[in-house]
Amino acid sequence: MSGIDFSDPATIAFLTDALTAAGVSGLEISRPGGQLRIVIATGNEARIDVSATSQPAPAAQPLMTVKAPMAGHFCPGSPLRSPAAGRLPRTVSAADILGFLRVGPVLLPLCAGRAGILTKQLAEPDALVGFGDPLFEIEPQS
């Protein structure tokens, strides 16, 4: 069940409806990344509390994979950047654009999302990729 995003409003609404329908007064889910608590009040109105935990972050950050946010054709790098700038491995910042998804005439930027060392490109240029397909791998900087 680790794939469920408990901060997603649609998921929270679904859980709230299910609890209300089942006559359950509340629910609390705690995971390493945060906590979700839904309390159904007597008037059937829910109080929802989504919070990040204050637990210390793990010492070793895992590898991060940049995934496709939707289906499209994968375009690594940038048409404006020199080929040398696309060499791997290289240091990237969270805001760096690593490539694009081409959907018809639209180019959707693919952001690194976190600073680190870009070590791998996981899809071939112009490959058709789907939602969630891994595109890049970023290692944390030591």
Partner: protein
């Protein structure tokens, strides 16, 4: 008959906008017709086996059906990116969504199903009933108009029909949005509650009222129509074995109904299809009580239980559906439809056999029966992970034999040889049901299974 060939697009690639066993079934039909397939899947179905055997496979969204299999834009984008020329919606999800059918055709693709207007007409129970009455299809006693707001008018309608009556949402179906009214004193409250439910669940407060039948059976008629005005019916099915309005076991033909009784009903269905310009496959659902048929709704799509009709008629309904979408003429006339023998289908669900709660998890090993007159439609294998996000149907076990008694015996053997380990399934429940003497005699009504379960729990 004058043949007017329309300009339906021919296609060589079909995008399958569904999952599970029906995705595998559609893929098989496409392959047999020499068509390429595109499988789209959610993240939860990333490892589905039919994705690996497709010509293209594309993840279209997260596990939630609302963000993947019900996401019209993601499906249309996937069709565009993969060059698909047609979309097969299967059953459930967007298969009876008129807006989706319309969007598919406006995108220049073929929707393998009826037109958006047919879906819309038959999706509204009041307009469907009106169309059926016009075509001479027998309907449940009650007006073919929406229920008025005036309490006095509502009372008068109920008196004319005669209690008990049932209040139904015009946009409902599948057992949802309905309320039984046994006597006049409960009428107004039932109307108010159902109207509010209909408003919230179906987006329309429109209701209608019908006579409530006490002990009906659920009988359906399968139709197949091309785009040139040709239509046939492929026999009938009995789907009375239901739990909470969900079919559990289906059979064809419906036992104990003489051909001269059902024949005119089948012909009326065909005539209704011609009148509304229906194309593709569809199912007319009826309640049957005391020798009379009463239309309840039409399903404008492929049914889960289509295999029992395929087994008795020898016609591949999915292939026929795809050929119609290509603009082909029907290859058979009514006289060519010859149903033979008897078929049963058991829905094998990933659920607890006693509580019927869904059971997700990894299938550690499994065994399915093989042999003459046995068919298994499934997508599962050892190591397959049953996701918790969708319908619990994991396989359909279908048997065919010369007689009903022989088909029942074959199903008992087939169920005995079926094993799915690692998760709970309803197989023990199905085995017990096929030992029941009343079921073996046939002609049980739609309430029988609930009563049988109640007695079983009590003993």
């Amino acid at each position: 008959m004058t043949q007017t060939f329309d300009s339906r697009p021919r296609f060589d690639t079909v995008l399958i906008a569904n999952r599970g066993e029906i995705a595998a079934r559609i893929q098989k039909a496409c392959r047999q017709l020499g068509l390429k397939t595109v499988v789209v899947y959610s993240e939860a179905d990333r490892q589905a086996p039919y994705g690996k055997t497709a010509d293209s496979a594309l993840c279209i969204g997260p596990s939630s059906a609302a963000k993947s299999y019900l996401n019209k834009d993601a499906l249309l984008l996937a069709a565009r990116l993969t060059g698909a020329g047609a979309i097969h919606p299967g059953y459930g999800f967007l298969s009876e969504n008129a807006a989706f059918a319309d969007a598919v055709e406006k995108a220049g693709l073929a929707f393998i199903g009826p037109s958006a207007s047919s879906i819309e007409t038959m999706g509204d129970k009041i307009s469907a009933k009106r169309a059926m009455i016009a075509a001479g299809v027998p309907c449940v006693p009650g007006p073919d108009t929406a229920l008025a707001d005036d309490p006095a008018v509502i009372e008068r309608v109920a008196e004319e029909i005669g209690y008990p009556v049932i209040i139904k949402a015009a946009g409902g179906g599948g057992g949802r949005g309905m309320r039984l009214v046994p006597e006049a004193g409960q009428l107004q409250e039932a109307v108010a509650l159902t109207r509010e439910e209909a408003r919230q669940a179906f987006g329309s407060p429109s209701l209608y009222m019908e006579k409530f039948l006490q002990h009906p059976r659920h009988i359906e008629i399968q139709v197949l129509c091309d785009t040139h005005g040709n239509a046939v019916w492929l026999g009938h099915r009995d789907c009375s074995m239901q739990r909470r309005h969900q079919k559990v076991v289906e059979e064809a033909p419906a036992p104990g109904i003489a051909p001269e009784v059902i024949g005119p009903v089948g012909q009326a269905c065909v005539e209704a299809c011609r009148q509304i310009g229906y194309r593709g496959v569809g199912t007319f659902e009826f309640l049957y009580e005391d020798g009379a048929f009463y239309f309840i709704e039409m399903n404008t799509r492929l049914q889960v239980e289509h295999p029992v009709t395929e087994m008795t008629s020898g016609i591949d309904i999915v292939q026929a559906q795809i050929k119609v979408a290509q603009g082909d003429l029907l290859e058979l006339a009514q006289a060519d439809v010859k149903c033979a023998g008897h078929a049963f289908e058991c829905r094998i669900n990933a659920e607890d056999p006693d509580t019927f709660l869904p059971s997700a998890g990894i299938i550690t090993s499994l065994a399915f029966p093989e042999g003459t007159g046995i068919r298994v439609d499934t997508h599962i294998h050892a190591g397959y992970k049953v996701p918790p996000y969708y319908d619990s149907l994991i396989a359909k076990l279908i048997v065919h034999a010369p007689t009903r008694a022989e088909a029942m015996a074959r199903m008992r053997e087939a169920l005995a040889a079926t094993r799915v380990d690692g998760i709970s399934t309803n197989i023990p429940f199905l085995r017990a049901l096929f030992e029941d003497s009343a079921f073996a005699r046939g002609e049980t009504d739609i309430h029988y299974l609930e009563q049988w379960l109640k007695q079983r729990r009590a003993s």
